[in-house]
């Protein structure tokens, strides 16, 4: 066993380098691996609901089809486009950050927030509609089709899955706002913009979940 001195963090080292890392690259690698592991965890988290969906869809396929017809696929499609758009602005934001363009980054992040807001707004409209039509599972659930129970299960899953998805967006937006603020204050640089990137990964993940939710919930033939 031999040893060398601990790396001396001389004055030249980057202010964003934490004491237990030797250089920015390895610090960034660690963050990025950590974030991906977090996303793997998120996949499994949603996975439980996707499993429940798979099982009940197989058990109650006619009921699911019937229930799905009461969702407005046009709103769903609109939201899909909005969310894909927000993914694009997010990617552009990260791109700008990587080039060290702080102001541009802030602009793209704000656009992402705006699109996220639109998405959530549409969701609120949809949820309100479900409330009015007594499609919220529970004591007041009403269904005039054939498959009352299957429809109730479907709407349980609908609310659980879209609700959890929306919750992720609600968490994401403040983080985006914070990133936008930091970018506006010029905190990022070519060398150091890891937080923007990590936020981006999270936001894209949320987008991917919706990419699956849309056909599975709105488009059952």
């Amino acid at each position: 066993m031999s040893e060398t001195a601990l790396p001396a963090h001389d004055a030249a080292h980057h202010p964003r380098l934490a004491h237990h890392f030797t250089d920015l690259t390895s610090q960034k690698d660690a963050s990025s691996l950590g974030m991906w592991l977090f996303l793997a965890q998120e996949i499994m988290f949603f996975g439980g609901l996707f499993l429940a969906y798979t099982v009940y869809r197989a058990l109650y396929s006619p009921g699911f089809a019937e229930a799905s017809h009461h969702l407005d696929w046009k709103l769903g499609a609109f939201n899909t486009v909005v969310l894909i758009g927000s993914s694009l602005t997010m990617a552009m934001g990260v791109h700008a950050a990587a080039l060290g363009h702080n102001r541009t980054t802030a602009g793209y992040l704000l656009a992402t927030i705006a699109l996220g807001g639109v998405f959530l707004g549409v969701k609120v409209v949809e949820y309100g509609d479900k409330f009015r039509h007594h499609l919220v599972p529970g004591a007041h659930f009403q269904w005039d089709g054939l498959h009352t129970r299957a429809a109730e299960i479907f709407y349980s899953l609908y609310f659980a899955m879209t609700g959890l998805h929306a919750l992720h967006m609600v968490i994401g937006i403040p983080i985006l706002a914070w990133m936008a603020w930091m970018a506006w204050r010029g905190r990022f640089s070519r060398e150091y913009h890891t937080p923007v990137e990590m936020t981006g990964l999270y936001w894209h993940f949320v987008d991917i979940v919706w990419i699956f939710l849309f056909p599975l919930l709105y488009l059952i033939a």
Binding site: E3, T4, A8, H19, H20, L37, F45, P137, G138, I153
Partner: protein, 555 residues
Amino acid sequence: MSAGPEPVPARRPGGPPPPPPVERRDKANYLNVSFGVKSWLLTTDHKRIALLYLASISLMFALGGLFAVAIRLELLTPGGDLVQSETYNKLFTMHGIVMVFFFLIPSIPAVLGNFLIPIMIGARDLAFPRLNLASWYVYMIGAAFTLYALISGGVDTGWTFYTPYSIVSNTHVVAAAVGIFVTGFSSILTGLNFIVTIHKMRAPGLTWFRLPLFVWAHYATSLIMVLGTPVVAVTILMVAAERILHLGLFDPRLGGDPVLFQHLFWFYSHPAVYIMILPSMGVISELVTAMSRKRIFGYGVIAMSSLAIAMLGFLVWGHHLFVSGQSAYAGMVFSLLSFMVAIPSAIKVFNWTATLYKGSVALQTPLLYTVGFIGLFTIGGLTGIFLAATGLDVHVHDTYFVIAHFHYIMVGGAIMGYLGGLHFWWPKITGRMYPEWWARVSAATVFLGFNLTFFPQFVLGYLGMPRRYHAYAEEFQVLNVMSSAGASILGVGYLLPMLYFGWSMRYGKKAPANPWGAKGLEWETDSPPIPENFARQPHVTEEAYAYAPSEVVVV
């Protein structure tokens, strides 16, 4: 070997003030570097966080132990006479929840793992120190919810939360569920931190196959934590949602399927039993070599068997559902896969045994616990084979046979490993030696008490005494009395370390840097370690456990 200039403590702008310069090496360590409550509650030093965890989980263990004492008292007599059946049901539920989620799952990883992994790999800290502190707070928040559930009246669903009972039970299921949900994230964050740390922070020269086996075991454990825990989190969230929002996912009255809940629950909770045993196996791998001052037998095989257990462990969850209404064909496949997990476990046991052969075995406390672990884990594991045998499990499922099986592994195995590790690294953690004589007495007491408590339960189980029974048939009494008697001995055995560990922190003999003459980076630094772990960046130039041999035997 190159010596650079004396290191200058690093600091981040706006961060805490730099630790004192390292010239006063023998004086400045992570314990005395700063004082006050704040210096502990806001620390990002993995060593201090480990101690925060140690304190919290010890309290939780005492709490879970008190529930166990109450259970054993009630079961002294066949009539349900000590407590009401409602109370009894809450007792075993809280016992299970506290012991599993708040004690055993965090025990070794969050205490010993947190303390040792960075040191063992020659790093200054975990990859994400603040996340590490956050995970302790998350744990505490989860514990607070669970304690709230407890104080406001308890939960009575069993630690398994089976639906539809957990949906209709009128106890505080939601608070307990939220508690488990939240703690789950503490475990995910710890696992994530470990994985990144092990990948990214290893000292120069420390290649994968030079890693101590303790680190391998934690790597495997962390994989389970990250990939399994979220599933139970969302499942338990759905149960809470069923109660609050009346979703019908698991409620047969609403068209849901309760067996789906069982699938989801065990998809995590079976791998979780390996979260509980793998770290302990890691400890034992360290202890056998250190206590016999000999290279471990079959390093690569032990390392790989940890990964194999973690992987295979994800494929067997259906063995808890043999009589639940799962398809018999699925049962058959899950049974076969359960048998397969036995192989890597067997490999470990045999390799440890072989390591002792021709060693220079110090018969000190850590070794006593090692021997205890190997014996009791073997019995617990082999009875797992009984349970994995479908035709036999139909009879013993949900009887005391299962209770005995898992206490043999979790109390006899995992806790023995935990205590062994705590004794072994106690000098490193506190800089003091524990009193060896008392420690041996306690190890012997735990071993005897343990067997007297749980061996009779195998017999009870095969006789057909169902678990979670508040009152039982008369003919089961003798065996139950034996078990309760054993539990009181066991309790004394556990109380002793709590007392002498506490005593030793003040009065114990000062520990040298390497009291065991053991190999490993953690023994190269001071006891207790300095805040930055190493004064100089260590370089690793040799295999793990490279005890200078008399001869090298290649078989």
